[in-house]
Amino acid sequence: MKIRNFIITFVSAIALLLSTATISFAKVVGDKIVLGAAVSLTGKYSSNGVHTQNGYNMAVDRINSMGGIKVGGKTYKFEIIYYDDESNPKRAAQLAERLISQDGVEFMLGPYSSGLTKAMAPVTEKYGVPMVEANGASRSLFTKGYKYLFAVLAPANLYLDVAIRTAVELNGGKGVKIAQAFEQDAFSQDVRLGILDAAKDTGSEIIIDDKLPKELNDMAATLVKVKQMKPDVLVVSGHTKGALTAIRQISEMKVDVPMLAMTHCDAAKLSKQHGKNAQYALCASQWHKTLTYKDKWFKDGMTYDADFNKMFGYAPPYQAAESSAALLVFKDAFERANSFDQKKVRDALAATDMQTFYGNIKFAPGGQNVSKPMVLFQVICDSSGKCENKVVAPLKWASAKLIHPVPKWSER
């Protein structure tokens, strides 16, 4: 009996010790600032979840090796606790709760996708934990009055706005006829709202306005309408699947439209999967390596691209670049706050005004980044069939001239 009592006491003592150890480990301890992140390592967002994680890791590595973060005269290093949210919003909310109340994390990084960010934001808000996110662009994230949520990327309604404005400009300032097809999810519908605003501003007319179902696999009916009504611009947004389906069916049905603008071409690896059929498609992107923004840690886009390639063996999609930028924002805020008080860090984040290799970052009161425009690139192929994405708009950043109108299929 005695031995049994002894064992029970011993085990519980060790358990107690371990639990306090993990809690104290997870705050700002010693020379470490521990950030929490739930990213999708499995499930349907796992490819982009991994890009997000790689982007975070790359920045942690870089900041730590370049001297870390200086707060109150002491130098700290970043460390991230990751959990896999399985691409599931419920799980993401649970993990946010766990990171904060069990692991004692006081600062968070965002997950991948608007949907998961939406699930986590109420939790971080409740505990007053500042969260810098890099992959939730839905407008609804920034209209809820969240005080602790900051997004380094441009909101979804700005994704294809620039395409409409460019088309109007090329049309001599007169309004254009727009055909649009959007998936019925929060993100794509926000992109759609942006187009509606742009159309109103420029006096353009929307002649086809289709909502694609989530299990979208076939948009032949929309394309038949496009063939008949001959719009000036066709806008499609339906994540990776939408981009791939659109290019496949447009090329198969030989739909001629002067301008085709889409989202998620990066993630869909359009030029790899479709080759020359993807040529001339315009794609909205948060970032492109040829942009000339600069910072001290990654220098510029080209260097980031090369370094990332060396570290992970593939070219960084914009999802990785924006994730890296989130850590630069955190570092900057910690140093300006000169404290680990959550309220002070939050205020410092709100006052952020900096340039990173990824773009300028300045937050609006809603938490979205308003000082970085979206860019449009065009898929351009050479005669050997090798395709490349070239930035064509806005003009300030353009590395190639926009090819407009898109040549007819019969002339290609």
Binding site: Y45, S46, S87, D210, L212, D218, A221, K241, A267, Q273
Partner: protein
Amino acid sequence: MISVQACLDGILLGILFALIAYGMALQWGVMNIINIAQGDLVILGGYIAYFMYLYGIHPAWGVIVSPIIMYFVGVGLYKLVINKVVDRDLFISILATFGISILFMQLMNFAFGADVVLANSGYGTTFLFDSNVVLPNSKIFSAFVSIIFAICLVIYMKTSKLGRAIRATAQNARAAKILGVDTEKVYAATFGINAALCGVAGALISITFTIHPYMGLPYTIRSFMIVIVAGLGNLPGVAISGMGLGVFEEFADYILGTEFRIGSVFLLLVLILVYRRFKLSKKREYLK
């Protein structure tokens, strides 16, 4: 011309769906199992064609290779799981296949990644009526292959020994058993044939549309609806209802807008079921 285009698009799409529904009707009729994992078998078949494409083999060969591999997957699945639920009530089998569906999704996600992929056949386009009607050859190819497989299956069921055994088991499993049919073997073969049909459909889908580990469910639902509309054991009905639904879908999409596409199909399903019930109740009155 628009209506011709919508009609042809619908028919080509419908034929492909009918092939999947055909497999579902077969095993539903024979084994009384509603296979929720039907769509996931389709997607797995698609991945086989996709990997052939990645390794430089033309994905059209997938319609031969994929069913062969999928047949064994189907038989294996039967031996592992389905044989334990085949005589139980429908609810158990739905649960079991639902579990298989989740497992398949996760395994495919794990093995192939979460990217949306497709296999390019490089087939061109057919222009009809002064290029007012445009048909991708890949869709025509899929419809053609689906019809060939369906016809082969019907002939096989009519003429071969196994086909006769399958039909006998569908009519009355106990009687078939008493008369010397090895029903266990028949069940395994039926499930294998169903999986093989899914494999063919999957290969065709990777050529005409896109595939993704989580995209199976819409195919399950669609084939379920086609079978319900056609009625069990009515194989020609499956083909007709498949094409009918395809055409109806395209027209609904064109007239009402894409957002009402799926909704209108479900509305049609409800109307058909109500109509059936109405007809049935009339019949009863007449018999009195």
